[in-house]
């Protein structure tokens, strides 16, 4: 069959996470700024008009510019970029499902997702797919979201109980079949996913070639690829995270046989060497920086030293401090603080309100529960499984110094002490935990909500977790220190492998 070839370039970003301002190195050279992303996209679009720019989710959550305005700032900034399409990420729902439906209306570009639906009638929460036409060429984008979002929606109470996330593969089959039957013209099919690289590969393996999927542009796992993965004739790409790189997929498409004839892909570093700066975008970000600086430059506290927070399956200096702060501020015996709720790799000695907010951006409740020694042992044991300790895939909890954990990985023996005494099965311990992890107790602790509350209903200790932390640190100075002996794991624990 003869070919008719057409060039198309797909630029892609994912997991920008509110990181707009970029950073300067010791020579003052700027990199990773959204203004540079914009400059690069504009440049390529000018050089190669048949270029589309797409974002695979998670533009929200990761900076005060975003969280202080609950994403409205992010939308205003993104509207300055020539974005052709975006798919929904899990962090787009951080400010609430209803809020995101509103914010999506503020976008000047389509936001797609096909598998996030109303449970009762199967309605799509967002536009399930969108066909972008470029010079007579029709590119179908289908948006997909990780099914893990269900944990998050549980914390939304009534609204959360009305939504569901369907299997991505089933949705792709359904949508592509519907589009084929409708006769809509499609020359290239792109899945714009926010399910993680491993899930993208699994999805590619299961999709029927009849669906006609050509490319998966992914996000969520923050994966840096050296080259695209090809699975079941589908190209899978992802571009890291936080504006460090832009993915550039140059394709030559056979429009007769509707297939990719040839392609080249690279991850373009977002730096001064590769990307001009869009001054208008820079100015727009700058106006938000001004507001945030004015509001958040106040110094909250001074720590005893810079505190490290690296790792998702281990105790950290910062984790220890925050767990202790919550325990003392809210008068618990034990505080269990999710590592994933702390969003920084370290905290400097002088802590401004901005630093504190960025390190712990979550508002919300902290609950007080009466847990027996037996329950605590079960919960801590659950936390010590490989998915947490080794793989860093599930939630690790930073614990307050009032609880000492000694775990032998080889034998599985666990010893716990609370307030200096060995834990007793029938003694009740007042335990604090964050709202999200309480609502998802089965995933985090292997215990149902009923089981967690068998010694009495959970009570709200505070409705403002951030406020409690801020207030405590503002009156207590020189806190923090090196890792102490509250969490010790002995034995041959496999080392975590960085992906």
């Amino acid at each position: 069959m003869s070919k008719k070839l057409k060039k198309l370039t797909l630029l892609h970003s994912n997991d920008i996470h509110g990181k707009f301002t970029g950073k300067k190195d010791e020579n003052g050279k700027l990199s990773c700024s959204l203004a540079q992303v914009a400059g690069y996209v504009n440049k390529i679009k000018e050089e190669q008009p048949d270029t589309l720019y797409c974002i695979a989710g998670d533009v929200f959550q990761g900076s005060l510019i975003d969280s202080d305005f609950q994403g409205l700032s992010t939308m205003e900034i993104l509207n300055m970029l020539p974005i052709d399409i975006m798919s929904l990420g899990n962090h787009e729902l951080d400010y609430g499902i209803s809020h995101m439906l509103f914010v999506a209306k503020c976008a000047d570009f389509p936001i797609v997702n096909t598998n996030f639906k109303i449970r009762t009638n199967g309605s799509h929460m967002f536009e399930p797919y969108h066909i972008v036409e470029v010079d007579g060429f029709h590119v179908l984008f289908i948006g997909l979201l990780t099914e893990n979002i269900v944990d998050q929606t549980k914390a939304e109470g009534l609204v959360g109980s009305f939504v569901t996330v369907e299997d991505p593969a089933a949705e792709v089959t359904r949508i592509t079949s519907m589009i084929r039957e409708s006769g809509l013209k499609v020359d290239l099919t792109v899945l714009l996913t926010h399910i993680g690289y491993d899930a993208d590969v699994e999805l590619a393996k299961t999709i029927d070639p009849e669906c006609g999927v050509d490319v998966i542009v992914g996000g969520h796992s923050h994966t840096y690829l050296k080259e695209p993965t090809i699975c079941n004739n589908i190209l899978i790409v992802q571009a890291g995270m936080e504006d460090t790189h832009i993915g550039k997929l140059d394709m030559v498409i056979d429009t007769v046989n509707k297939s990719i004839d040839s392609w080249e892909w690279e991850m373009v570093p977002v730096d001064e060497e590769h990307c001009p700066t869009d001054k208008l975008v820079k100015a727009m970000v700058g106006t938000y920086e001004l507001e945030i600086d004015a509001k958040y430059s106040e110094v909250v506290t001074r720590l005893s030293r810079k505190l490290d927070n690296y790792g998702r399956g281990n105790a950290t200096e910062l984790g220890q401090l925050y767990a202790d702060c919550f325990r003392d501020a809210l008068n618990f015996d034990v505080m269990l603080l999710a590592s994933s709720s702390m969003r920084c790799y370290y905290l400097e000695m002088t802590v401004t309100l901005q630093d504190l907010r960025e390190s712990y951006p979550y508002d919300g409740k902290i609950y007080r529960l009466n847990l027996s020694g037996k329950q605590l042992k079960r919960m801590i044991k659950y936390m010590l499984r490989d998915e947490v300790l080794v793989d860093w895939k599930e939630t690790f909890y930073q614990t307050s110094s009032s609880m000492k954990i000694l775990y032998n990985y080889d034998s599985g023996e666990l010893q716990l002490w609370v307030n200096g005494k060995e834990i007793e099965d029938d003694t009740l311990y007042v335990t604090g935990m964050q709202e999200f992890y309480f609502a998802n107790s089965e995933i985090g602790f292997g215990m149902t909500l009923d089981e967690m509350q068998e010694n009495g209903e959970a009570r709200v200790a505070t409705t403002d977790a951030f406020g409690a932390l801020r207030d405590y640190l503002s009156v207590h100075k020189n806190l923090g220190g090196k890792i102490d002996d509250r969490f010790i794991v002995k034995g041959k624990v496999p080392k975590h492998k960085k992906k």
């Binding site: 300055m80 001054k279 208008l280 100015a283 106006t287 001004l290």
Partner: protein, 98 residues
Amino acid sequence: MEIKRTRDGNTLVLAPVGKLDAATAPELADVVRKELDGVTELGFDLAELKYTSSAGLRVFISAQKIMSKQGSMYICNVCDEIKEVFELVGFNDIFDIR
């Protein structure tokens, strides 16, 4: 907020009076959104504007984005206080300030 308008063919000059803040900036943004059809030169005369917040700055940026596709834009008669803010955000590199 009072926003004086002078239209002459394809030229439009907008002169906001008083201060641009979170409450009044949306009013200027509304005018920019609704009245730029067919305008090829847009001017902001800030002779009677005493203060602008970040929200006000964003209106100018959005207007520049629109006008870069259909013509040109300038800002004139900027008081010293607002000039300082403009410099802080790098407006001198982007806008035609007269």
